[in-house]
Subunit: 201 residues, 2 copies
DNA sequence: GGGATATGACAATGACCGTTGTCGAAAACC
DNA sequence: GGTTTTCGACAACGGTCATTGTCATATCCC
């Protein structure tokens, strides 16, 4: 039963093949989530999309939610990095810094509409773990915005922080639902005006 | 098979009994949604809570989602009425009017924590129909806020409107999730500051 | 009181899906 | 070339739940 011996196959070691399959599944999961929504994304559908069988799904993930969380963490971290870099590229000028951050965020969503739909619209309600990731991500995002507007590391009033992040996300949701029909500048402008309340400590 | 004849039973006509069962099911649905969340609320559980059998569930609703939507419409309409009345009770003074609206909203949530959790946190993601009801409700809510701050009937910039409604709701979500631990005034204050951007047309 | 309707308890059905298991064929190693 | 590992296709099992059906009992009307 136990196979202690592994063998290279099609030029890759067992570990390499396993990781490749994992990546394939992540990509397929993202596609299927985007197409049918997380709730309607069955393990079977993800595996078909990946060209792999269910057996390999459970080799890499204990269940569907685990795959989702892995994707979500990855996407969130990348988003935060991009946004942070965009903010740091602008020196001085608080409004310009804040605008750069927001523009990076919305531009990133526009660049990848399918993941955007999943991770902005669905993510928060999928599970407590997903909710927590979303919460933490947006806490950091709002900290970046606060740093742009002021020199303070964080906004003191937690409700204000929460409100601004809610506004930024809701504008994103609406934009996505309407197929990105409004110009980028108009959504950035609106978010910028709202985020300006962070300047008042 | 077809029973054309109805008969009063326990002092009520067939129609009265049907409506009473419907109301009982709505109340039970609200309780069960609040307790287990919509996704884990089975028809069976709602019927048990209502003290009725599944047969009567399908007498009044084609499925679980239909019950939810009926409840959601009801709750949303009541909420809008309360908020509108609170706003109209304050004359002049834009900030005071806006504060009254927001205070009525958050106070209403606090007064009924269980429904609040369901209809603020879960509602938007349950189905496209539910999403639409939530969207329309908050569009009107934001119009009321706009009217408070300005004399314009609506805010011109749709993204700004969407952003403010997102902020108000996100503050509510966070407040609910933290068990209403912050004082009412602090959440109202934060929402008020953000909503003030509606004053700029 | 007797026949008819309303009700409640509960079984039956059917669908969906997660998860695990089987098995023959392809590719690797020696 | 034969043996072993790896792979892909797919069946099997079990669980949950929506939805419909059955039937005995309670309540009605006359």
């Amino acid at each position: 039963m136990v196979t202690a011996i592994t063998r290279t196959y099609l030029g890759s070691t067992a570990e390499e093949r396993r990781l490749l399959r994992r990546e394939t599944l992540l990509k397929a999961g993202c596609d299927v989530y985007a197409q049918r929504g997380y709730r309607n994304a069955t393990v079977k559908a993800i595996c078909e999309r990946a060209g792999l069988t269910e057996r390999y799904f459970y080799e890499s993930f204990p269940n569907n939610e685990a795959l989702f969380l892995a994707l979500f963490k990855d996407v969130s971290a990348r988003m935060l990095d991009e946004v942070r870099a965009a903010g740091e590229a602008v020196r001085g000028d608080p409004a310009g810094k804040a605008r750069a951050i927001l523009e990076a965020y919305y531009r990133g969503l526009q660049a990848e509409p399918a993941p955007a739909r999943v991770f902005v619209i669905e993510a928060a309600d999928i599970s407590p773990a997903a909710h927590e990731i979303a919460r933490l991500t947006f806490e950091r995002f709002t900290d970046l915005l606060t740093q742009a507007w002021t020199d303070a590391p964080v906004q003191r009033d937690p409700a204000l922080r929460v409100g601004v992040s809610g506004a930024v996300v809701q504008i994103a949701r609406d934009w996505i639902c309407n197929g990105f029909s409004q110009p980028l500048t108009s959504v950035v402008d609106a978010a910028l005006r709202i985020s300006a309340v962070l300047a008042e400590q």
